[in-house]
Subunit: 155 residues, 2 copies
DNA sequence: GCTTGACCTTAACTATGCTTGAGGTTTTAC
DNA sequence: GTAAAACCTCAAGCATAGTTAAGGTCAAGC
């Protein structure tokens, strides 16, 4: 018995194979693993072997990222998938529904910002006290682009 | 003549005053200055004094940031404002127009992503080769959220 | 049986957008 | 005229999302 056939070869993927098929770099897969986004088995020689399901998982991660969701949130969402069995189409659809509504919210806020920017183009009022863009408290809130974009209580 | 009245007091603002009025931290103003987003005069004692226009400038920076534009881009946009005179309302409106169209583009891409996510909710197909979300080459492109979200030529 | 390519780990580096701390100076207020 | 508040610079630190490099091991082809 060779050392390496513990995680059944042919049914599992090496990190290089996953990288090629999923389009993400090997280093990224390592990184995702340290963040708990994906998991692997190891061969006797300590090499990673992934179940095929990892491809869908990586695909889902990339889609979620494109919607603007940070990796940490993606991780906790994925952690809520049923343990012990491979996720079903409905499991993924459920996740998609949650993310879809977050995406909706992002789009809503950006559209609001756009409309107000429209109003301001005419008047150049960008720094006047009355300009809605200057007073983001009303309905806009932070857009989550970075650590604390705007002071909550800056009077 | 005291050392400090070189940049006319009452007509200029200290960094603390700008912080209070604009709602951004003093450290942030320092940071913006190192990045060339704002500029200051110095008193004889080496303290910053800002022309009042800095308030509008900071306001504009914050608005631009909320639309998702990185500071470096904001800097180069601001650098194109006419030198030698204070920017007019039309100058700011011109900037707003440019940013408005970038914001438009962002919204367009996110909406497209949302629609496709809708399609996928029904089928749970997120990792199938035929799923549009898996093949972002078509019309979606990178969303600029981070360094290289997707491999351009990953076959 | 040995060379080469793929893999391993750990640490450090990139970029963005700031904040925090240390150690020292200036201004302001009394 | 002195104490406190505000300011200064420079360096390091934090968070996010990775990449790159160094130094070594594993596996596969010939």
């Amino acid at each position: 018995m060779s050392k390496s056939d513990f995680p059944v070869p042919g049914q599992t993927l090496s990190v290089g194979e996953v990288a090629k098929r999923s389009g993400v770099a090997v280093s990224t897969l390592h990184f995702y693993e340290t963040k708990g986004l994906i998991h692997s088995l190891r061969t006797g020689g300590n090499q990673r072997r992934y179940p095929r399901g990892v491809l869908r998982r990586v695909a889902v991660i990339k889609v979620a990222q494109r919607t603007g969701i940070p990796l940490a949130s993606i991780q906790s969402a994925l952690a809520k998938l049923p343990q012990g069995r491979a996720p079903t189409a409905e499991d993924w659809a459920e996740l998609s529904r949650v993310w879809r509504s977050e995406l909706d919210e992002r789009i809503r806020r950006l559209s609001q910002l756009r409309d107000q920017l429209d109003d301001c183009i005419g008047c150049g009022c960008l720094s006047l006290k009355t300009c809605p863009l200057r007073n983001p408290q009303d309905a806009l809130g932070a857009l989550g682009a970075g650590p604390r974009l705007l002071e909550p209580g800056a009077g």
